[in-house]
């Protein structure tokens, strides 16, 4: 939506997906990644495990707090049945005890409440911190082919809305549940202790209540699932419209979009209303049961007091407890709400976390051999018996061998779908080969730790995404410890210095703030400056000059022959102008290298490259 973002959710690989992959894609399309059974509960457990001690303390605080709260009516019973008669007999002790006891309970329940809220907030926040971090790191560790299929929107909603619904459960729901369960237990025990008969009636009322809760849970679960599907559809429509606002406006789709959106929005409105009505039914049902039980217990208790077989204070206490007993039923319903949505979210998160990176980091990384001398910074690349196929079948690159000597600049040409990008991605280790090895100075790429790998190989692609922050920060991604001078030198070498200096704050211009609009070509120049700064042994350019004008492209080529001189370079380009600086040209077709030679040799020959070159020359005339 902002100028610098690309509409990147779609894949940029040139190879169309083979048909064999459709079934696997279905899991992605329906947003249901396979997760091992019980992954959700395992995830929850592993999140809570490191805070066992603090969870225990928190629970203890709540136990004590509830004990202090529930002591109130007991003291009332004691006051009416014991302290009042004692006071009449001029024994003030019991009443003083009542006063002090009640005061202490009040203070304790307040203080414990405070402590509990803080303690539980700490636990909750740490769980969320952990989970957010896990999702983020895991998403970053997953390989490019995963990102190409699992759309950005989904990944974003995993770490935002889904985490949010867990936050709601932790913040409100869980505390609610524990309070409800605890007060049920406490109050039932106290009632039974006060009077076995009255207590038994109260406990018996739990049976229909439990039934109601189960029915509600089942029905609400159904409605909630429908609701989350409905809101997801609303979100997709919304985000797409906002991200595609230019075509929406230019092609006058506003009214048609309003109509489409209204349909989705109405559907959500209806299900939303259904969910609220379901809650209303539950509230009526549970209140009816609760109030009937209260009336029944009062009837029986009062009858017995009238007959003299029960003390008045006990009845009073029982009634006070009963009202508290049934108070939290509504809140139990709310807990079930947040539980339902959190469970659905956790399941999705667990599915994401269960994905294993297909391009794992090595457990015992190796170092690249030291460079022979500083003026020969390139490294040798070799593909040994490499083939590549999607995991679900559909071979993209049949088995091949290829060696690129250190310092060579190699252009790869061929039509869409010939496998050029896949070759580049194998070399950049965005993918691992299905068979064979890719070696950098004799070391398998799979044995290199990420920092070492990226000193070795860097790839610049055609989508030149800018991160929020200043221009300088965006260039420094290439080498975070680079000085301002080095950043400017890289920008100058690539011909980006002039336009950057002309921005409102020069290198310190925030790319998303006032006046920070940067064109597609300028973004590609920033991307190049970044690569230049990274100063890798092997540089891959995948369509990296497509938005540059010819002088821009020349500046890049110049930089490659000066600043990057001696590096091994692989250049993939639709435009043959790039080929001019190459020492060697590979022509690819259907995943195979069909021609291999110096530009001069190939142009002089009669192969495909010669044809292409002739066509291109004609277009320049």
């Amino acid at each position: 939506m902002t100028a610098p973002t690309t509409s990147a959710p779609t894949s940029t690989d040139e190879e169309p997906r083979p048909p064999g992959q459709e079934r696997a894609d279905a899991a992605f399309d329906e947003d249901r990644l396979p997760a091992p059974p019980r992954a959700t509960s395992l995830l929850l457990r592993s999140l809570l495990a490191p805070m066992k001690a603090r969870v225990t303390v928190t629970t203890l605080l709540l136990l004590l707090q509830q004990a202090a709260v529930q002591a109130g009516p007991l003291i009332v019973a004691y006051a009416i049945d014991r302290a009042v008669p004692a006071f009449r007999d001029h024994d003030h002790g019991p009443l003083i005890a009542v006063g002090v006891g009640y005061l202490l309970c009040a203070l304790a329940s307040g203080a414990l409440q405070y402590a509990f809220i803080l303690a539980s907030a700490r636990v909750n926040q740490d769980v969320l911190l952990d989970l957010r971090g896990r999702i983020f790191r895991h998403a970053q560790a997953l390989s490019i082919d995963f990102h190409e299929r699992y759309t950005s929107g989904r990944l974003i909603s995993r770490s935002t809305t889904d985490v949010e619904s867990l936050r709601e459960l932790l913040n409100e729901g869980l505390q609610e549940l524990v309070t409800v369960v605890l007060s049920f237990l406490y109050i039932s025990a106290l009632l039974l202790w006060l009077d076995l008969g009255l207590g038994a009636v109260a406990v018996a009322s739990f049976v229909p209540l439990y039934g109601l809760v189960r029915i509600y849970q089942r029905r609400a679960g159904r409605v909630y699932r429908k609701r989350s599907t409905a809101i997801a559809a609303v979100i997709v429509k919304f985000v797409e419209t906002m991200n595609g606002i230019r075509p929406v406006r230019a092609f006058r789709r506003e009214a048609a979009n309003d109509a489409d959106f209204a349909v989705l929005n109405k559907r959500h409105e209806r299900v939303n209303g259904d969910a609220l009505l379901e809650m209303a039914r539950y509230v009526v049902g549970s209140r009816v049961v609760a109030n009937t039980a209260v009336a029944g217990i009062v009837l029986w208790g009062a009858y017995r007091v009238a007959q003299g077989s029960l003390e008045l204070g006990v009845l009073a206490a029982a009634v006070l407890y009963l009202r508290r007993l049934y108070d939290p039923i509504d809140r139990l319903g709310m807990f079930l709400n947040s539980y339902q949505s959190a469970a659905a979210s956790l399941e999705k998160i667990a599915g994401l976390l269960a994905q294993t990176p297909t391009v794992p980091e090595p457990s015992a990384p190796r170092q690249l051999p030291a460079l022979e001398s500083a003026d020969r910074p390139g490294r040798e690349v070799s593909f040994e018996g490499v083939s590549f196929a999607y995991r679900t079948g559909g071979e993209v690159l049949p088995r091949f061998d290829l060696t690129l000597p250190a310092g060579q600049t190699v252009a790869v040409v061929g039509s869409t779908g010939a496998g050029k990008s896949t070759l580049a991605k194998l070399l950049a280790r965005f993918y691992d080969p299905s068979e064979g090895r890719v070696l950098l100075d004799g070391v398998d790429l799979r044995e290199l730790a990420v920092p070492e790998l990226r000193r070795g190989v860097v790839m610049v692609t055609q989508e030149a995404f800018l991160f929020s922050g200043t221009v300088a920060e965006n260039i420094a991604i290439g080498r975070p410890d680079a000085s301002r001078e080095e950043i400017e030198r890289a920008a100058k070498a690539i011909g980006a210095h002039d336009f950057i200096s002309a921005l409102p704050d020069g290198y310190d211009t925030d790319v998303r703030k006032r006046g920070g609009r940067i064109s597609a070509g300028q973004r590609q120049l920033v991307a190049f400056a970044r690569a230049l700064l990274a100063d890798p042994a092997v540089l891959i350019l995948d369509e990296a000059t497509s938005s540059l004008d010819i002088p821009g492209e020349r500046a890049v080529q110049r930089a490659m022959t000066t600043v990057l001189r001696g590096r091994t370079a692989v250049v993939i380009a639709h435009r043959l102008s790039t080929v001019e600086i190459a020492d060697r040209v590979l022509v690819m077709e259907h995943g195979r290298i069909v021609e291999d030679g110096t530009p001069a040799e190939l142009v002089a020959g009669t192969g495909r490259f010669a044809d292409l070159h002739r066509a291109w020359r004609d277009s320049l005339a």
Partner: protein, 602 residues
Amino acid sequence: MSTTHAPTKDRSAARTLLRLWPYVRPARARLFTAAFVAVLASCTGLVIPLVLKWLVDGPVADGDTAAVWLGALYLLLLGLAEALLFGLRRWLVARPLSHVEAEMRAGLYRRLQRLPVAFHDRWASGQLLSRATTDLMLLRMFLAFPLTFLLVNAVTILVGVIIMLLQDWALGLVILGPAIPVVVTCVIFEKRYHHVARLAQDQVGDLTTVVEESVLGIRIIKGFGRHRSQARAFRDLTAKLRGTELRKARLLATIWGVITTLPEVAIGAALVLGCVQVADGELSAGTLVAFLSTALALRWPVESIGFLLAMSQEAATATERYFEAMDETPEQEDAPHRGAGNGATSPHAPAADNEGLQFHNVRFRYPDAPEDSPPILDLIDLHIRPGESMALVGATGSGKTTLTALVPRLHELTAGRITLDGEDITAMPREELRSMVAVAFEDPTLFSTSVADNVLMGQDEQELDRALSVAQADFVHALPQGADTQVGEQGLSLSGGQRQRIALARAVVGRPRFLVLDDPLSALDVHTEAAVEAALRDVLADTTALIVAHRPSTVQLADRVALLSEGRITAVGTHHELLRSNAEYAHLMSGSGDSGEGEDAR
């Protein structure tokens, strides 16, 4: 994006929330009825202790078992009434409130679609989305609970206190004791919580931005092995958010602590005093029981004030955020008026021929740029004759894309005017203007629908095949369901070149009279490019077109070329003329000549 740290006008929560009224109005009858029903239900709950008192002091004390039955029956009836009233309240608001939420969302969507493109340049979609989802959900919850219950609780507390005062005014006063400190605490709390709640919401927004960028920029992060520093940035932000959330929790804990303790202390005092009075025979046991159960029945209404206020605060913040977007002015469908540069006649229109696409003295500066900054485009005078195609060539960043966005009025001119066949584009409805001008954007966006819908964008289906063949998008027929295949975020991924061809087909499908193409072939390979060019030539033969071009091959599609240099048109002519006569043009097209760096390019 962090654009949302908005000018927080220091409005009180109540005044902010009042802005919701127009949306709530249609549901007002039900909402008020529901509030009334809730008050009734709460008061029913308060009558129950009175029945208890009557039971204890009357039938129980007298041993009248028949009257005990009657009392229990009253209790049962009251209980059932309470249950039904609470259910009725929820039933009354369920549908209307969902409707209010949906209407507000539709309103936001409608408004956002019509806000200037410059607005969308500034706002990340994530920030807009969170307003349409989370914030609106908060508002619905606010209307359903805090709004009603703040009222209900106030009435319940008032009625409860009156009942208690009537039963025993001394005990009642004791119970009222903590009212003032509780109110003071609430007021202080409200202020502080508002600030922290807004901070937390904005930090969540920033976090979302990092997540979004880390996903969208994954190739760069991986390509440079920067996932660790990215994770560090993320961790720092989450740690900051955790700090804010804990500050929130501390405030909540304090108010809960105060609100639990003070009333309980008062109840304890009332208990002791009451016992003394009962012992002295000044008060009946039944009254004390009733009094205490009334006091305890008020506990929840009092305690819940804390979180009701917190929810109201969050709702106020959500309202603020919602109106931040809603208060922006949409593109005006203004009354026809002539552009600001009215007086200046174009030097290119000496004769009567004002047909075709004309730029007269056009100046443009982004509306959010400082007034004194140099304009992006200035003194643009250009005439594209009917049926002619004009290539627009210029160095990277010279303003070509910006110029193309002016024709369909995606941005408004700062000065000057653009005419189509003599008619000022600001004088015609946008709808009409955009039906005359079709655009293919450099960055092709596909929507989650079929390929056919993506191309047609509401146009007649007959033209589909022709458009696809002009754009050389025949790969569409090889897709699993042909042109009905779903693409976009929720469907099949297409490559950059494929998307570009769909966008091109989209532009030509309606046979527009004016065509604007922004570097339409950049992602195509040489073969496909040649084929598209051949097919485009036919389309361009009778269309007035403006084509942004980087390459000689694309330029050759056009009849003439305009050179854009530092925001001005510096030369117009045919490709070959300019190649010969203009050094800058020659440099741009072949990379040869004086590059300004004094170095001979190879």
